[in-house]
């Protein structure tokens, strides 16, 4: 089961949010975005600080909790993609890269889109929905 997707930019604005099978919808989405971004930011700092080797840059692949697994990808430009899924779903990195590619094709290349604004492109939404729903573990 793939629950939801967050896309953040370098400054911490939530560019895009989508959920598919989330059972307890949050009433305050804005607050939730700040919470998730803050957690990611602090987690990366924590990981750099506690890393046993010199070259840790705080990047991680996913983390696992009792109820979900958060898959994470950050581009070199600071755009962060998080996909939350059921703990048993394995690696979703390809899908995160696919979402990045979809964002580049439909959003970044759009001259009417101002960088840093929330994404409102229906083409992007379609491509993301298509990409995620094509995963074999999408609905169970």
């Amino acid at each position: 089961m793939i629950y939801n997707l967050y896309v953040f930019d370098r400054a911490g604005t939530c560019l895009y949010y989508a959920d598919w099978h989330r059972r307890n919808k949050s009433e305050n989405l804005e607050g939730e975005f700040k919470l998730v971004y803050g957690m990611l930011f602090l987690l990366k700092r924590f990981l750099t600080a506690t890393s046993p080797s010199q070259d840790g840059d705080g990047s991680f692949d996913h983390f696992l909790t009792d109820t979900y697994r958060l898959h994470y990808f950050e581009s070199a430009t600071g755009v962060k993609f998080c996909l939350l899924s059921h703990p048993s779903v394995p690696d979703l990195r390809d899908h995160l890269l696919g979402i990045y590619q979809a964002m580049v094709d439909t959003v970044v290349k759009n001259p009417l889109y101002k960088l840093g604004d929330p994404i409102e492109c229906s083409l992007f939404k379609e491509r993301v929905d298509q990409l995620i729903s094509s995963h074999p573990r999408f609905a169970q």
């Binding site: 370098r10 070259d55 840059d57 990047s59 581009s75 070199a76 430009t77 600071g78 755009v79 890269l97 990045y100 590619q101 964002m103 580049v104 970044v108 290349k109 960088l115």
Partner: protein, 187 residues
């Protein structure tokens, strides 16, 4: 990573993107520069405009570059130089640059054998175009792209017989801007 593997990555990336006619591209760029020069009061203003346009392109181009080439976080400045020269320019303009003239670890030059934008161009030697950097858009693109990925850069054109683009990596201080005359042979 070795230079040869970057070359291969560049070739792979180039084969993945859509291609357009290079002559059409050069002529379109020439028309753009001609319009900018006409609209600007002097060459410095035109250079600034081209640089700004390039900057706007660069901040968006970098995401496409990273997504298509699959390059992740780069650890050293020297590696970014190689990647720009071999993968970046190959992917978008189908030319390869050589990285050279390292000065310390913070400044380097990109050398091109041929200018991918200016094959058919000849600049008249009048006041409007004597100090014009015809391909200044490229500097802006590099500046915008690098700024999105890390600290601000200072990129400018430095001419000799070959075409050079010189980079300065600035932390908190501003580098001097060198303005150089270009003759009608070099564009």
């Amino acid at each position: 990573m070795a230079t040869s593997s970057y070359k291969r990555l560049g070739d792979q990336a180039f084969s993945k993107v859509e291609h357009i006619n290079s002559e059409l591209f050069m002529l379109t760029y020439g028309a753009l520069v001609a319009q900018v020069v006409k609209d600007s009061e002097d060459a410095a203003e035109a250079n600034r405009q081209l640089d700004q346009m390039g900057y706007n392109i660069g901040v968006r181009l970098v995401d496409e570059f990273l997504a298509r080439s699959g390059i992740g976080k780069i650890s050293t400045f020297r590696e970014t130089a190689e990647i720009i020269a071999k993968v970046g320019f190959k992917m978008f303009l189908n030319v390869i640059a050589t990285v050279g003239n390292w000065s310390g670890d913070k400044e380097y030059s990109l050398l091109f054998d041929e200018n991918p934008l200016a094959e058919f161009v000849e600049l008249p030697r009048d006041d409007a175009t004597k100090a014009l950097f015809y391909s200044n858009l490229l500097c802006g693109v590099l500046r915008g792209a690098l700024e999105s990925v890390s600290a601000p850069f200072h990129v400018y054109f430095f001419y000799t017989l070959l075409l050079l683009i010189r980079f300065y990596f600035i932390y908190l201080f501003i580098c001097f801007i060198y303005s150089l005359r270009c003759s009608s042979l070099l564009v």
